[in-house]
Symmetry: C2
Subunit: 487 residues, 2 copies
């Protein structure tokens, strides 16, 4: 039985407690208070702690939703108020569903037609580098795909336990995932003062440290960087590939925000494209998994749960087990799979439904938030070039840091708790992104309507200035009111 | 790296090879041959090896599809050609989605409103026995929920390895799942001659045998039985509960076909209902997980991927880890979650969309197939009372059995391969259902249109009679043509 924790799977018991779920509960509590009529200086909690654009008020792409509506209810094929390309595409997609229904199972690795569409998309993106549908695996979100790979890698214990080199900071969902897979997290530091660039000597340093306690077998890279907003250039990618090749590490490349590079003079370059320009010595040997997702900036269809991974240079015997493990999910959600087809194959200019995505909101928000945050005392933000987050640093007064110690929470979490209670703004705490260096950071998603961002920044400034006023910098030696008041 | 199998996770390497995937490849191959113009005595492969009703041509419930179409494309709220109750329900469901969009993430354990709907459904079903939304966990299919529980249970190795008492025959997806979780399968035999009933002495026998090699900590029960079609009565359920209580086993109850009991005088009785009539001694202590699914007979929405489990008497500390593990999926597909709400809360008599499900097809198909199969020489079928499968026994000629040995496949798999090649009918092989007793069985899904079933039975009879003719019963000592001809 499971009457006590004593007999639970030790790996499961080892999954770290996420500070995020504590903040989520607090946000739910504050929301409930408002509903119950408790007076607050704000009308609602605004949550921009995670990338959830529709929740924040971003609108879905009509073409996607129209096609899916027709696929669900095919009688709409005859509805002439819907654009012709919508109905034609829906008809085509229904043809690739068994029994012409989104209610049928699909192959565990995805609908063959969609896998083919994805492979063709990758080839176009990578200027002709070959991609094969058989190497593309669809899953219920990119996180599920990553989990399958991590589970395959997991083995050993103590200094033989599989380790994964992981950026610091990393996506806030990653540490829990590594724990769940039973894999050790080996951090490598990103360079804040260089806009969070990847640094080769840090990779070597991390690998060396990691090898003392585990067996590092893979390196995780997020490009564009979550939550840093860094976009790697060709040279940096080449450097990482050479490193992985020399050290025989599997490359786990999170490229889910490949559609959202907005920094001036920046473009998205895939690891695969660089790999295949490095010559056969690399392109024929370096093993790589590249992840993409329907929760990308352009689509933002997080709730439909679909993503894919492309495996490069993977042994067919290993690929076989990827398939076997996806089989235990039976199949991925069909509406999500069909939406993936629309993501990689959107309407073309001239088609009736050419409501293409504009990166303007993201780019403007990034610039505005960056400038605003840097103007606040005790806050500094690197300029993001891509992705959907900013990750500013907090220079906190010693009172806050001491109070946090007393309360046994991270100082960044205490900051987020206070901000939530006093201003109804829910931001992410840097410790969730794997921060362990004693520095303090915040995480905010900027893929939100411009007026929402303005509201968030105004509330944040109000709280932050109050906090700074009552807790001045230690070197000024002035004491403000007790911060315990707000807790 | 993952350059060889050598360094793969040993648990993953231990996942058994499913005979089903081999047959699936063969079916795909035959289908491809037809597309390429190869002459066959049939126009298409009919696959009734698994429960995939829409693939087989069953129609989805319009109400469900209409509501989901509106949720995806809310402009349809103004479309008056859609019934009023459809639009009202869609509006209500959109209100419970963050940001009013199915594109937003939900809580990892599901949308609170849907969990509440499910709890209310369970209370109505169990004639008032309390159910709480906090004990209901939604996942991307019931299989995902089950996997989370199995992963929690998994620990130890050798004779301390967690074991799960598992019916023989069991659902064909279960053995792989147990392997993937790293849990040992301890079979208990169901009683074929009593319509595949659960037998108490078999449970004791299995437990005793199991304890020699592992640590059995749970018992899996499928009711209505997959693939047996058995429906447990009150006494049988009580017996199993007493057994689980005495032996301190967690009850894992697969009740996904609770909506499809059609045997005369039979009704579905939930384990929970019985448990709560057995008095506090049981209802306050026996730990239970009950599974239900959107892939149920009535909905058949397999492709939308949603299911739920209700936890009974689970320690809150353990429940916490259920939540933690579901968190690694981030959230379940939203369209599926909304469809669950429609499943547990369908239109009422008098509502515009009262196209209620009729069990007539299932009941008629079960009766027809049962009689037909029993009339064939060398085939015997128990009468199904519920669920969506028949599981007839094959009495195979010795030539087939010897040929199978020579080819190193199970005889039932060889039978299915030949049937697929010669008649284009894809049935499941009993060995996939955990058969290890040397007997041979077939599995066929009967939730298909009546004319499809007729076609399947005609082709099956044609093949079977041919096989029986060329390979007469061993005691008749007549030798037919070499069966290798058809391979």
């Amino acid at each position: 039985m499971m009457s006590s924790l004593q007999h639970l799977n030790p790996t499961v018991k080892g999954i770290r407690e996420s500070a995020h779920s504590g903040l989520q509960s607090l946000a739910a509590h504050v929301t409930q208070e408002i509903a119950q009529g408790v007076q607050k200086p704000f009308k609602e909690v605004i949550d921009i702690s995670s990338g959830d654009p529709h929740k924040a008020g971003m609108k879905p792409i009509s073409f996607v939703r129209q096609v899916l509506a027709v696929c669900l209810h095919p009688e709409l094929l005859g509805n002439k108020t819907l654009p012709l390309d919508v109905r034609l595409r829906a008809q085509r997609l229904l043809e690739v569903c068994d029994g012409g229904s989104v209610g049928s199972y699909t192959d565990s690795s995805g609908i063959p037609h969609v896998r083919q569409s994805i492979a063709e998309f990758i080839m176009r993106r990578d200027v002709g580098v070959h991609s094969h549908a058989k190497d593309v695996f669809i899953s219920a979100g990119s996180q599920r795909g990553l989990m399958v790979i991590l589970k395959l890698l997991a083995s050993g214990e103590g200094d033989t336990q599989t380790g994964v080199l992981t950026p610091r900071p990393c996506p806030h969902t990653l540490p829990t995932l590594l724990d769940d897979a039973g894999v050790a997290l080996v951090p490598y530091q990103l360079m804040e003062d260089r806009g969070w660039a990847v640094d080769l000597s840090e990779l070597h340093h991390a690998l060396k440290c990691g090898r003392g306690g585990c067996n590092p077998r893979a390196i995780y890279i997020s490009n564009p960087g979550t939550p840093t907003g860094h976009v790697q250039d060709w040279e940096s990618i080449e450097e990482v590939i050479r490193f992985a090749a020399a050290e025989r590490l599997l490359l786990l490349v999170d490229e889910v925000y490949q559609d959202s590079v907005y920094g001036q003079g920046k473009e998205f370059i895939s690891f695969k494209r660089v790999l295949f320009e490095m010559g056969k010595e690399y392109s024929g040997t370096v093993q790589m998994v590249s992840l993409h997702s329907l929760s990308s900036a352009c689509m933002g269809e997080c709730g439909l749960r679909a993503g894919y991974m492309e495996l490069v240079n993977m042994d067919p015997e290993v690929t076989h087990f990827v398939d076997t493990m996806l089989c235990t999910d039976i199949s991925s959600p069909v509406t999500g799979q069909l939406a993936l087809d629309l993501m990689v194959n959107p309407p073309r200019p001239g088609d009736p439904s050419n409501d293409t995505y504009t990166q303007a909101t993201l780019s403007q928000n990034a610039q505005q938030a960056h400038e605003f945050l840097n103007d606040l005392p005790g806050m500094s933000s690197q300029q993001a070039k891509g992705g959907i987050y900013l990750y500013p640093r907090l220079h906190l007064p010693s009172e806050i840091i001491e109070k946090a110690k007393e309360l046994e929470v991270e100082a960044c979490v205490l900051y987020c708790q206070m901000l939530l209670k006093e201003e109804g703004v829910f931001l992410g705490a840097g410790c969730q992104n794997g921060e362990t260096t004693g520095k303090h950071y915040l995480r905010l998603c900027i893929l939100v309507p411009a007026d929402t961002l303005e509201e968030v920044l105004a509330r944040l400034a109000s709280f932050h200035l109050r906090l700074m006023d009552m807790c001045p910098y230690p070197d000024r030696g002035v004491k403000g009111r007790d911060i315990g008041d707000t807790l």
